[in-house]
């Protein structure tokens, strides 16, 4: 055990490398160290990322759901039709002209004319009222225009009511009321859930990083006592938080995509019952990238907040 004393090996004129190089060196080291830490404890890392991924997946999934629901509702409304019964005095030629006029309007997608004869025929074919109808001498049915709306359905129905030739405009109000009820309820529910999930995601991410940092409190305190600045101490934790975030974001995306695939068949069936060819739309590539980056930013932010808190506690003597 030889303890050398006397003049040391290093030169007295100490090299001072460029600040920038040292700074970059430290950043790279912090990142690599953070990644190393993740790999060194694969199970703990998986658990942490799993928790964060769930916390992220839920509000994200809700967001996708709401977006799809809106598109879906729009789709369904477009597929719905307004029945315009014309006044009994309006003859078929006038009805045909009116149909042509209406079809030219921008808020109308299509107009189909059903003449009284067609109506009677379909009544005869469809119902068992054949005999009863034969009793009627004259065809009492009016001409019917079946209008497919191209824009705001309610406004369109209103304006159709004002047509001089229109007698009864049938716009299935009960159906509409029910759908609105469902949607109002769904929206309220979604918001309640979103608030809950948002709070949950914040709590989970914050708590995860907090406990991770608490575990290394001793290390932080040693670094502080050796003269490390807050920035120096915080950096590896920021990278750690960002790594967690990015990985959690990726896992959340994967989970959501799996959920999306499992929901496709029933939703398609549902849409078809409304005569719509609506398809569930997941994340586009830019969206996905945004989500992963956002999750990384969230992890970075959470780590920053919590590290700041720990630093303040450990640095009790500075106050």
């Amino acid at each position: 055990m030889n303890v050398r004393t006397g003049v040391p090996a290093n030169t007295p004129a100490r090299r001072r490398p460029s600040r920038l190089a040292a700074w970059a060196d430290h950043h790279v080291f912090s990142l690599v160290a953070s990644l190393g830490r993740l790999v060194a404890k694969p199970w703990a890392t998986a658990l942490t990322i799993g928790v964060m991924a769930v916390a992220l997946a839920l509000p994200l999934g809700l967001w996708v759901m709401l977006g799809n629901a809106e598109r879906f509702v729009g789709d369904v409304q477009q597929a719905r039709q307004i029945d315009v019964f014309l006044k009994p005095g309006v003859d078929v030629a006038r009805a045909r002209a009116l149909a042509g006029e209406l079809e030219a309007r921008p808020d109308i997608a299509a107009v189909e004319l059903r003449t009284p004869e067609q109506g009677l025929a379909s009544l005869r074919g469809a119902s068992g009222l054949d005999e009863a109808l034969q009793v009627i001498g004259e065809n009492p049915l009016p001409s019917l225009l079946v209008v497919s709306p191209g824009g705001d359905e309610l406004a369109l129905a209103e304006s159709l009511r004002e047509l001089p030739d229109a007698d009864v405009v049938q716009h299935d109000a009960a159906w509409r009321q029910r759908l609105d009820g469902w949607l109002r309820f769904g929206t309220r529910f979604a918001w309640a859930l979103a608030v809950l999930l948002g709070v949950g995601a914040l709590l989970v991410v914050g708590n995860t990083v907090r406990l991770d940092i608490q575990q290394r409190r001793e290390e932080i305190s040693v670094l502080q006592q050796l003269g490390a600045t807050d920035g120096f101490i915080r950096r590896p934790f920021l990278y750690l938080g960002a790594c967690y975030g990015v990985l959690a974001g990726a896992v959340a995306l994967a989970v959501l995509t799996a959920v999306e695939w499992s929901l496709r068949p029933p939703l398609l069936a549902l849409a078809q019952s409304y005569g719509s060819d609506f398809m569930l739309r997941g994340f586009s590539l830019p969206h996905a990238a945004l989500v992963v980056l956002g999750a990384g930013a969230l992890g970075w932010l959470g780590a920053g907040l919590v590290t700041g808190q720990t630093l303040r506690q450990t640095r009790a003597t500075d106050t």
């Binding site: 050398r4 290093n10 050796l226 003269g227 600045t229």
Partner: protein
């Protein structure tokens, strides 16, 4: 010129215990001195005040012409880089190698990790641990850990070295070698302040000795005085 000056410094912990009472002394540039006293006399507390692990309750501490009372926030870190510390309980980073632990003060001073290797090796050789650079602190004996702490404290050639019981886990031969190492530091501009309860060792060194008793500075023995 004095490197360090304590002026009527008292320290009362939150628990109400007065660990230091009106302590005043001066440390000259390039001086080496010992602080002794019974267990609980206040030696560690005194050293902690110097690197701002604790704050005095009363009195003033000057480091060069810096009033330590006024060092706050970011400047605490900068001050600590000018003071090398050997902690009584080592305080090594358990998940980094011996070499990384020893090189840390250089990295904190803004050097690139890759550039610290040579100096780390040189200083590890000086404390007799040249062959343990890649070990983790948990794989070292207590005395080896203590020497890593010493290497870390001296690597950046601080203006002042404060060492709390640096030979508490070392045998007499090794203690003497470490003391010789400390003795060589003042030549290179580092003042050295060592807390120790090892009276035999302290006497042998023939340096200035501050004697604490229940928080009071009861004696300030200079080698000149002994010679008289």
């Amino acid at each position: 010129m004095s490197v360090l000056r304590f002026d009527n410094v008292s320290k009362r912990y939150a628990s109400g215990r007065e660990a230091l009472s009106e302590v005043s002394f001066d440390v000259g540039a390039g001086e080496m001195l010992f602080v002794t006293g019974h267990s609980g006399a206040g030696k560690s507390t005194l050293l902690k005040l110097i690197h701002l692990s604790e704050r005095p309750s009363r009195g003033a501490i000057l480091f060069g012409d810096r009033n330590l009372l006024k060092v706050r926030g970011r400047r605490v870190a900068l001050h600590r880089r000018e003071v090398g510390v050997v902690f009584q309980d080592h305080r090594l980073l358990t998940d980094r190698s011996v070499a990384d632990n020893v090189g840390l003060p250089l990295v904190l001073r803004g050097e690139r990790r890759a550039d610290t290797g040579k100096r780390v090796r040189s200083v590890l050789d000086r404390v007799g641990l040249g062959d343990r650079a890649t070990a983790l602190p948990g794989q070292l004996s207590a005395g080896e850990q203590q020497r890593v702490g010493i290497a870390r404290a001296i690597i950046a050639e601080p203006r002042l070295l404060v060492a709390d019981e640096p030979t508490g886990n070392l045998d007499p031969t090794l203690s003497a070698e470490i003391m010789a190492l400390f003795e060589s530091l003042p030549e290179r501009g580092t003042s050295v302040m060592i807390a120790s309860h090892d009276l035999a060792l302290v006497k042998r060194m023939k340096k200035r000795v501050l004697v604490l008793n229940q928080g009071r500075l009861v004696d300030d023995i200079r080698p000149e005085d002994l010679a008289e």
